[in-house]
């Protein structure tokens, strides 16, 4: 079984998603600049630190641990940073699969695949459009044969 990695451009998408929040905090810091106030230093230091941790450590680790594979009866997704997870979804449990893409993802020609099961769902980000379609076709429930009412 070979684990596949999503497109590395998803890392850029995650980093760019951080920009609006960073811009907002930057604006607040500039607007209420008070160099002698400890609260200002605390606030500014916090958001810069959090942004740097996300940009330099969290997102790269998130990409490093993210991978997926299709086995003969399950779909596997590896993900997580602090807590890493292997999530296995049996084919028969998938109710339907959907392909989603935000404007930012479309700019980089990638998308996400979302699998819906009874009471749960999982999302696989950073897929090429062709890979996403192929996975959707493999994982979507097939048309059932005529049922035997006694089974």
């Amino acid at each position: 079984m070979q684990l596949k990695k999503p497109d590395p451009r998803i890392l850029t998408v995650w980093r760019l998603r951080l920009l609006p929040a960073a811009a907002l905090f930057f604006f607040l810091s500039i607007r209420f600049v008070a160099v002698h106030e400890p609260v200002w230093w605390l606030f500014t230091g916090c958001w810069i630190t959090i942004c740097m941790i996300l940009l330099c450590f969290y997102f790269p680790l998130k990409y490093r641990y993210l991978s997926y594979a299709v086995k003969h009866r399950v779909f596997l997704l590896h993900w997580g940073v602090l807590y890493t997870r292997i999530r296995a979804v049996p084919f028969h449990a998938v109710q339907y699969a959907a392909i989603l893409s935000t404007p930012l993802e479309r700019r980089f020609s990638i998308c996400s695949l979302k699998l819906y099961m009874a009471g749960s769902h999982i999302s696989v980000p950073g897929l090429h459009n062709e890979d996403a379609k192929e996975l959707r076709d493999i994982l979507s429930p097939k048309k059932p044969e005529r049922e035997n009412p006694h089974e």
Partner: protein, 483 residues
Amino acid sequence: MNKPDSLRRTHPFSIFLYLYRFLFLLMIPLLRSFFSALNGGLAQWFAGAWIDVLLVLFLFLISTLKWMNFKYNMDSNEFYLTYGILIRHKLRIPMHRISTLSALSSVWLHPLRITKIRIDTAARGVKKADFSFYVRQSEAYRILELRSEPLQNQNGVPNEYRPGIWSIVLLSLFTSNTFPGIVMVSTFVSQAGKLLGEELSVLLRHTFEETARKIAFGLPPIAAAAALFLFIGWFVAFLVNLLQTKDLLTTRTTHTLRVSGGILMRKRYSLRLSEISFVDLRQSLLTRLLRLYSVYLNAIGFGKEQADIAAIVPFSRKTRVLSHLSLLLPEFVPSDRTLRPGRGAFLKFLLWPAVYCALIPVSAAFAMRLFPLWAEVIRFVAFMAAAPAVWYFGVCMLDFVSSGLSKEENYYTIRYSSGFYLHTVVVSWQKITVIDLRQSIFQRRSKKCDVSVLTRAEGRTHHKLRAFYLEECLSLFGLGDNG
């Protein structure tokens, strides 16, 4: 959609059920003022209450129309239903799509020979039955007979199980929940005053206080009263449970499992075997020490309501339980444990329960220093809080030694604890929705993981295990490279 030739109406009793939500708002004050008006001034009463009277008549009319438009037909192939006044619904459910078909008859409906039919499918809500309606008893028997099949047997012995009275008593003893009993007793005492006069309510309260004072041997009176209240609540719940599960009988046919029982409410269920999600052999700390097991079923439409039967095999010894299970549901017999928690996993199981046990006396000592006048009360509260903490510690300790995973053909046996109960769950691969293997930073180093199995059941059920070796779990579930 072609409708069947003959449609039936439900029992006219249904009219009162459609009314009940709204009628009680008006009927009681209306009746009270009517009786007082009979003493004189009936015309004045009507002049003031004519809107209420009109509203009651209107609600009665709507309920009757609802009943007249609710029609069904049920045969061995399908269930056809049409209902609604302004917005008409027509639907057709194939019989093989009905997961559970139930017939329930409450004790106060026995004289009227009315039975409630409940139909559950895999669709729609979890908390309520998909469809329910009231019919005559003879019609209920006819409907249940539609799913009748020849009994299965092994070497001439029918595949059925009828537990003895002591198993039922033990089941009620260990599963009675104090809270519903307290609610019933509180409701009875408060309503006794309204319905039968304040004297009865006062008498009941006085009797309770006297009894609490008599049994308070060295205890604060308030503690004795609380203990007495809890005991009465538990005893009422125990009696109700006993009457709900008496005469329990479980029978297996080719494609269905039939369960019946109860005196307060006579219940008969017909479950499709393919709709059984998992079987749960459940134990508390006490029943584990007594080596007693009970078997619960999780299936769509089964064990949904408070009054439903959920256990098909009440408390018995392990060999007997396995013997009955192999008779009724041989696919769901638990397999022997193959995977166990990793070495050194005791911290994972016992750390937090030990912290809770230690925290309570420390907090109590600290509180008694801060509030010395409340020392007695704090000591009592700490004692009451320590009991469940120590109980929980005991459950986690047993979980540590018995937790496990195994597989037999396509059925997985999962042994774990949840809250104050130990579970041995047997589930088919077909009913597993998601398998989650989670590792923390520390577990990555020791190559262990926590396992969570999500099953497609009545609602969503998580089965969580702790501190298993990752490679072993991947191999068991067929998720590894060689799977």
